[in-house]
Amino acid sequence: MTPIEVNIERPGGEESGGRRHPNTCPTCRSHYREDELRHAQRVCPHCGHHFAVGAMERIEQLVDPGTFVEIGSDLRAADPLAFVDIKPYIDRLSAAELQTGLGDSLVAGHGRIVGRGAALAVMDFAFMGGSMGSVMGERFCLAADHAERFGVPLISVTASGGARMQENILALMQMAKTVGAVDGLREAGVPYISILAHPTTGGVIASFASLGDVVVAEPGALLSFAGPRVVEQTTGEKTAADFGRAESNLRLGQLDAVVPRRELRGELAKLLMLFSPAEDEPTGDNEPLMTIVEGDANPIDKVLGRLGLGRRRG
């Protein structure tokens, strides 16, 4: 009776109705050429509205040039349920990959930020609404594996409408799986920084994204478990204009800071310095490309063997 996953509004604060060009600011109606907007880090130079940023562009904004190495790029959704709604899941996946150039809604990897190494897990809302399925969960875990192995902080940037319904219970389990990865970082004493972009809702904010040692958000980002529409339809309550927004979440104790996008790289550099050992100077990050090895055998569960599936061998 309670739909928890959210059919999320498109990013921005636009009124419903009439589609606008993606490079038209929904707040002040200024329009920009693609190169202008990209150069401005997709922050409206006129009013400060934060446009959505794709995963690869986000990585370019944050990471020192030439240092990013992707992990798990060859993973693809396998559609075990043979799920069909109005369209087959398989067709939605192909369309999303064509549109975004990504294999799923999260790009994992590692790189350097102002000289300091970090593992990265960056989401892309354009890939099926940033929904969380098996591939997204596994890629997040691969980034966490890298952080744990090399003792570098994990940084995630999220933008998601929630879990991917087409994978149903497996999508739900990605919440447990990604939180487990955070638990591994905690056990190993490895820091985790979570950056919440618009929108981060549903299963993503109810799992790893809320568990950063530091949690920051971009201005105006919608950050809630249920979206305002679901709240209103399910409970009959009215939601205020600032319902679930980053600024409300800061006031309500859920965030450490709201950081404008242009300051994000600088704040991350400061945090990576604070999270680094005493008197550590940033140096070249010479660790080898990660080689994925077998994890610890699970002494209870024979699922893996039974399905002939599971952790990828590198």
Binding site: T2, P3, I4, E5, E60, P65, F68, S73, D74, L75, R76, A77, A78, P80, L81, F83, G101, S134, G137, E138, C141, M165, N168, I169, L170, M173, Q174, M175, A176, V179, A181, G184, G203, I205, A206, S207, A209, S210, L211, L223, F225, A226, V230, V231, T235, E237, K238, F243, L252, G253, G295, N298, I300, D301, V303, R306, L307, G308, L309, R311
Partner: protein, 294 residues
């Protein structure tokens, strides 16, 4: 070209065959049957003694989720379960089994107590989902679910979770990360309600049955997908037809699962539980990775 294993192909074939579709909708209805036994109905049959632990020590006592110290086959356990109400007043008081953040904070308190004193944890999952209201959101529903899941990940004591009715989304999972996960035959477990799924994908919540057929919230599917460890049988017609018999079947299954969970060395349990959930998910591999940038 996405390469998948033979087992994925078999799963797809099986699900494409659309077998058991009528059972799917039966299960949705049985899982929500207002006469279905709830956590307290099983607690009074499984436990010889119990002391309810109330309150989150911060804001309120959320009666949609109950926690207790209980004696189970001669040993003390911590029991945690969603609790729906029987009559209208109890349903309202218990918010139809939909916890606010305070409910999950209470659960975390119970996990912490179990961990500190070394008691196994038994959970009973039966919720349409976490309550999606303005106040719940303002008090951090999402973060509290995340932290509840984390606290179950962190515990080194044995944990057995059983889905006994509706296993609805993150609100269910918040207390369902366990060493052994059981599911009653007519329970359902899904990332969203059939109605919610239909509303989003079919743009029509009336298509709930169609959605349920497509996403298969049943115990059989959960077992096939490696999400649960065992299906717990129910009396003919469903658990509500003979609550004592249902409790007996549940007792046997939980007792056995607890013994299995207890066999994992305590020092390994946290890591083993993490590894168990790490393996959940099904994917394929393409030959050509997408290009690196930078």
């Amino acid at each position: 070209m996405v390469r998948v294993s033979d087992e994925v192909r078999r799963l797809r074939k099986r699900f494409e065959a659309r077998a058991e579709e009528s059972h799917i909708w039966d299960a949705v209805q049985l899982a929500r049957n207002p006469d279905r036994p709830y956590t307290l109905d099983y607690a009074e049959r499984l436990f010889t003694d119990a002391f309810e632990l109330r309150g989150d020590r911060a804001f309120s006592d959320d009666e949609a989720l109950i926690t207790m110290l209980a004696r189970y086959h001669g040993q003390t356990v911590v029991a945690i379960g969603h609790q729906k109400g029987r009559d209208l007043s109890e349903r309202t008081r218990r918010m139809f089994g939909m916890p606010h953040p305070e409910g999950y904070r209470k659960a975390m308190r119970a996990v912490e107590l179990a961990e500190r004193l070394g008691y196994p944890i038994l959970t009973f999952v039966d919720t349409p989902g976490a309550y999606p209201g303005v106040n719940a959101e303002e008090r951090g529903q999402a973060g509290m679910i995340a932290r509840s899941i984390l606290s179950f990940c962190q515990a080194s004591v044995p944990i057995v979770a059983t889905v006994i009715g509706e296993g609805g989304s993150g609100g269910a999972l918040a207390i369902a990360v366990a060493d052994r996960v059981l599911m009653q035959q007519n329970a359902i477990y899904s990332v969203i309600s059939p109605e919610g799924c239909a509303a989003i994908l079919w743009k029509d919540s009336g298509q709930a049955r169609k959605a349920a057929y497509a996403f298969r919230p049943t115990a059989n599917a959960c077992l096939d997908l490696g999400v649960i460890d065992r299906i717990v049988e129910e009396p003919k017609g469903g658990a509500h037809e003979d609550v004592d018999a249902a409790a007996k079947l549940l007792d046997d299954a939980i007792r056995h699962a607890l013994q299995q969970a207890e066999m994992i060395p305590a020092a390994e349990r946290r890591r083993a539980r993490r590894a168990k959930f790490r393996q959940m998910g099904v994917w394929g591999v393409v030959d050509e990775p997408t290009g690196d940038i930078g």
